[in-house]
Amino acid sequence: MSMHEKQLNNDLFQPAVKSTEDAEKITKESTSFWQDARRRLFENKGAVAGLIIIVAILLLAFLGPLFSHNTFDGQDTSRTNLPPRIPVLEKVSFLGLDGVDIRGVDQYKMKNQPNNYYWFGTDALGRDQFVRVWKGTQISLYIAFLAAAIDMIIGVAYGSISGYYGGKTDNIMQRIIEILIGIPNLIVVILMILILDPGILSITFAMVITGWTTMARIVRGQILKLKNQEFVLASVTLGAKSSRILTKHMFPNILGSIIITSMFTIPSAIFTEAFLSFIGLGISPPTASLGSLVNEGFKSLQIYPHLVLYPAVIISLIMISFNLLGDGLRDALDPKMRK
């Protein structure tokens, strides 16, 4: 007790300078909304994991096929149904990557291909599954890109015009959307396929017709909210044109909702394509899609599980990571939604 009293003498203390200037000083740099959002996004482990997986899949989808000297449609009947075999990893027997099939026969030896390595195996026509899986992934990613683009271009434009101009324009545009929403997506795709033949083109068309309605509605709602706020009124009073008000004052304010909405459109678009290809309506052979690869693999699931395994795992990974990233973005950009 006495020791403490000794140590605390007046020399240790200094009077604090009291000044109004100091009180006004901002000690920390202020963070903008986007900086804050980025910080929240990177704090979210799921979202970061999703982002990393998406980037990895993106790289593999475009670089993967370059590692193989085979093409996605190159058939060779001397190497049909080979199980996966990867150098180095083939030594680790429990991974099942040593080219030995389910009955314990080394297919590579039997089919006289001792020096070849097919990382994901080959299919019934001897096509390199590794190349086919990444080609299919490219299609899924194309669909993801397309869905986002349609959302951003048609959806945002339609919604903002409808919301901003209001009145009769809004009324007519909303009636059109209501009818479009009444028609199930799948039906439009199937009708398109009947006219245009199955393929990426008909899926693209169908998505252009129906893919943007959710976005248009959300953007319209947001614009309606912003339209009557003071800063817009100020801009109008200063003589700004509609296009300037929309692009400079409204879009920055609704960008968060736009990003969130498109992040949830993407996985559902990817699923739609995979689903269509799975029931034989989407991508037609020899082009591969993850959905059609899973479908083909199902036919020989018991004997050659590797044909289903890789496309199924990759499509699931893509969907999971887009959903995780979407959840993370929603939490980061819309703090009210945080739970």
């Binding site: 009636r175 199930p184 995979a274």
Partner: protein, 309 residues
């Protein structure tokens, strides 16, 4: 409210009219007729057959006939199955699909609600994280992948349940379960968010401070209020069940409408495709209408009709 329902009914009819007209003119655009495949027919015979089915009439007349037949429930005849009426083909096949859909909805809603409620009550605990994980996986993993996994492990490896076909209650388990995964995930996610929202409300604090038991607070005040918005996700779920049955029925060889639809597309059986399309659209539009009306009835705070009032 009555005005709102009437307005919606009118829109529904307009949408249906557009879909059916669109469908009809597409059918006319498509190459082929019911009798093109029969090479043995002479031109004379083809003419007689076309005359019989009214295919020689001008397109507007055919359109009028088609629409009036449609109003009576006559959807034409199949090209592939010996001119069987499409409407009987649909009514014969709708049973298993409906049963499957209802089973999946019931299983999905119950499990989903339990997961969602548990997650919200045990917020930020391992139960919450587990439930969220199940929800993300359920929404993300495509149903065909999940169905395949179930079929392979439960059906083939463990031999607990039949792998496919439709022959009694045992055969329902795997397809209904695969179909319900999306329902479970969606309901669980939604319920969790709503529960947390309600738990933060002042009236919950009031209820607790009145000295009500935890059970009463949770059951009467929280769950009941949180359930209201769950109705809104019924629409998206209905769409998902329709697309879901297409895949699930194909994988498990369930003799339902979806299975027939997929095979009719593969066989280019246009009348069946078109009729099923119309049928699905009708189901879909009716579900959306019911959801909209229900929403207004359940929660008077939401005025779907007026907007401003």
């Amino acid at each position: 409210m009555a005005r709102f329902v009437l307005k919606r009914l009118l829109y529904m009819l307009v949408t249906l009219f557009i879909i059916t007209s669109f469908t009809f003119f597409l059918m006319k655009l498509l190459p082929g007729s019911p009798f093109n495949n029969e090479e043995k027919l002479t031109d004379q015979q083809k003419f007689i057959l076309n005359e019989k089915y009214g295919l020689n009439d001008p397109v507007p007349v055919q359109y009028f006939n088609y629409m009036s037949n449609l109003a009576k429930g006559d959807l034409g005849v199949s090209f592939q199955y010996d001119n069987r009426p499409v409407s009987t083909m649909i009514t014969e096949r709708i049973g298993p699909s409906a049963v499957l859909g209802i089973e999946a909805t019931i299983i999905g809603t119950i499990i989903g609600l339990i997961l969602g409620i548990a997650a919200a009550l045990k917020h930020n605990t391992s139960i919450d994280y587990l439930s969220s994980l199940i929800a993300v996986l359920g929404i993300s993993i495509p149903s065909f992948v999940f169905a395949g996994v179930l079929q392979y492990y439960v059906g083939v490896k463990l031999e607990w349940l039949p792998v496919a076909l439709w022959d009694g209650p045992k055969y329902h388990v795997l397809p209904a379960l695969s179909l319900s995964v999306f329902v479970i995930a969606t309901v669980a996610r939604f319920m969790r968010t709503e529960m947390l929202e309600v738990l933060g409300q002042d009236y919950i604090t009031t209820a607790k401070s009145k000295g009500l038991s935890n059970l009463v607070v949770i059951w009467k005040h929280t769950i009941r209020n949180a359930m209201i918005p769950v109705v809104t996700i019924l629409g998206p779920l209905a769409i998902n069940l329709i697309t879901g049955t297409l895949i699930i029925e194909k994988i498990f060889a369930v003799p339902g409408l979806g299975f027939q639809f997929v095979s009719s597309i593969q066989l280019n059986d246009y009348p069946v495709i078109m009729a099923t399309t119309i049928f699905y659209s009708v189901c879909f539009i009716i579900v959306i209408l019911i959801v909209d009306i229900l929403y207004g009835v359940i929660d008077p705070r939401i005025r779907v009709a007026g907007g401003k009032g």
